[in-house]
Amino acid sequence: MRRRPSSSTPPPPLAQLQRTLMRALYAPRSRSNRAPRDGLALYRRMGALRFEREVAREFPRVRALLGDEEFAALARAFVASHRSRSFTLEGYADTLPRFIARTRGRSAAHALASFELALRRAQRADSKPATPRPGALAHAPGARVTSGPRRASVAVFQRDGRAAWLDVAAAEAPLLRSLLRGARVDRAVARTRLSPARIRAAFERWVAAGLLLAAPSPE
């Protein structure tokens, strides 16, 4: 791309030029802290930084947990193995929790990343609650059970247009998880080993928090 061809030489096809530049942008190369010497190196640097900033924007709590240096190394490793196929960067780093689990195991960073992802998904969810199937309960938009910041279970959901969360006792998590997946209430309750009093208390808590939009009718 640097040598000026003679004027009689027809330029290569546009498709060829674009594929050549794209390959050059993503060719594996060691990263240097020196200022880029040529335009290609500059585009490579700017592109990597753009993706790394996106990872940091989407996972501020993980960054705070790991510290700037360790998080930057994590983000660099993630970006090096994840290219974008979307017109938007929104959601680019959604697979970071899985990446952390694969490369670092199910650590505190993995739990926190899963929690942050669930928060963002709840925030992005359509604010209109889905209509429940017959026998199931309506729940808040974007509701799901995930691991929380302290690796305990939490329910994350949208309330008044914002992401909210609620700690969930480990013993109650399976019941809530199946309710949020749309299971019929009678079947979900039949499968749990919780006492009737505990089930009732859990339902009251979940309804009061706005996680479930109605309690099951007594039978």
Binding site: M1, R2, R3, R4, P5, P11, P12, P13, L14, A15, L17, Q18, R19, L21, M22, L25, Y26, R34, A35, P36, R37, D38, G39, L40, L42, Y43, M46, G47, R50, F51, R83, S84, R85, S86, F87, T88, L89, E90, Q123, R124, A125, D126, S127, G161, R162
Partner: protein, 281 residues
């Protein structure tokens, strides 16, 4: 006046999330707001309501970075449908994107990559701009990009490419005077000659912004006050293109809204001088 009858909206700012609430609460006098298209396509409901409130309070224009209009990949029809729906919902006065490509074979670099300015590329981009305009149901304004490499295979200067593209695709121009200055500082060229090569009646918006130094490069960072040389070029642009909607871009190390308005206000006497000169002529 541009040939499309698009109005001079005065002086505007690029909307940044941290200023949205302050703008809504205090309604500062701004000619218009420019919304970064991709930030508003799949917004959470609460943010969507805020955007709609801003669009009800100010004229808005959409400025995108993902149309990928120069790529050999097919145009992303879903993206275009979403942009059109957003523009309709917000009553956007116009839509702009960049003379560039961002990826190929389905990959997106999210960088505004330069095109080779060849006859083939010209025909290709013109065809795609026409298709995009049909899909969007409105005129598209293309921005001259800041670029950090150039293809030796180019057969014409960028300004000539843009001028011919305007004729072939019947599109509008968003002139970024900072990009013109940055490209000239990095690779040489005469910014005044660049302006003179652009058609007078196609420019519907001007961007001013700051740039920064990184090693041997001047980078279009949008993270600094507008340089004096860029303000001078802006004045030249107004002399050639008349009073054009002008927007200050500031995307990193974003200052307070008051500081942004103060920087934007530097354009006022320049516009007044240009207007006086036009009236005298």
């Amino acid at each position: 006046m541009n040939r499309f009858g698009l109005p001079d909206l005065g002086l505007g700012l690029g909307l940044r999330a941290q200023h949205a609430r302050e703008i809504l609460e205090h309604r500062p006098p701004l000619g218009f707001l420019e919304l970064l298209t991709e930030n508003h396509l799949r917004q959470p409901p609460r943010a969507q309501a805020q955007t709609e409130a801003l669009a009800a309070a100010y004229p808005v224009v959409l400025h995108g970075v993902s149309m990928n209009v120069g790529s050999v990949d097919p145009l992303d029809r879903e993206y275009l449908r979403e942009v059109r729906a957003l523009a309709d919902r917000l009553g956007a006065r116009w839509i702009s994107d960049h003379l560039c490509w961002t990826g190929v074979d389905g990959w997106n670099s999210h960088e505004l990559l330069p095109l080779p300015y060849t006859e083939e590329a010209l025909r290709h981009v013109a065809r795609r701009v026409r298709q995009a305009q049909d899909s969007l149901g409105r005129r598209l304004a293309l921005e001259n990009p800041s670029t950090y490499l150039a293809f030796a295979h180019s057969q014409m200067p960028e300004a000539e490419f843009l001028a011919r593209l305007c004729d072939l695709a019947d599109c509008a121009l968003l002139l970024d005077v900072n990009n013109v200055a940055v490209n000239a500082m990095n690779r040489g060229g005469d910014p005044s000659a660049y302006l003179a090569a652009l058609p007078r009646d196609r420019v519907v918006q001007i961007h001013v912004a700051g740039h920064s130094r990184r090693g041997r490069w001047w980078i279009d960072t949008h993270a600094a006050p507008v340089a004096p040389a860029v303000w001078r070029l802006y004045e030249e642009a107004l002399a050639r293109f008349g009073a054009v909607s002008t927007l200050l871009e500031w995307d990193a190390a974003i200052p307070s809204l008051a500081a942004l308005r103060s920087e934007l206000a530097k354009a006022e006497p320049i516009r007044a001088r240009a207007q006086a000169a036009a009236d005298a002529a």
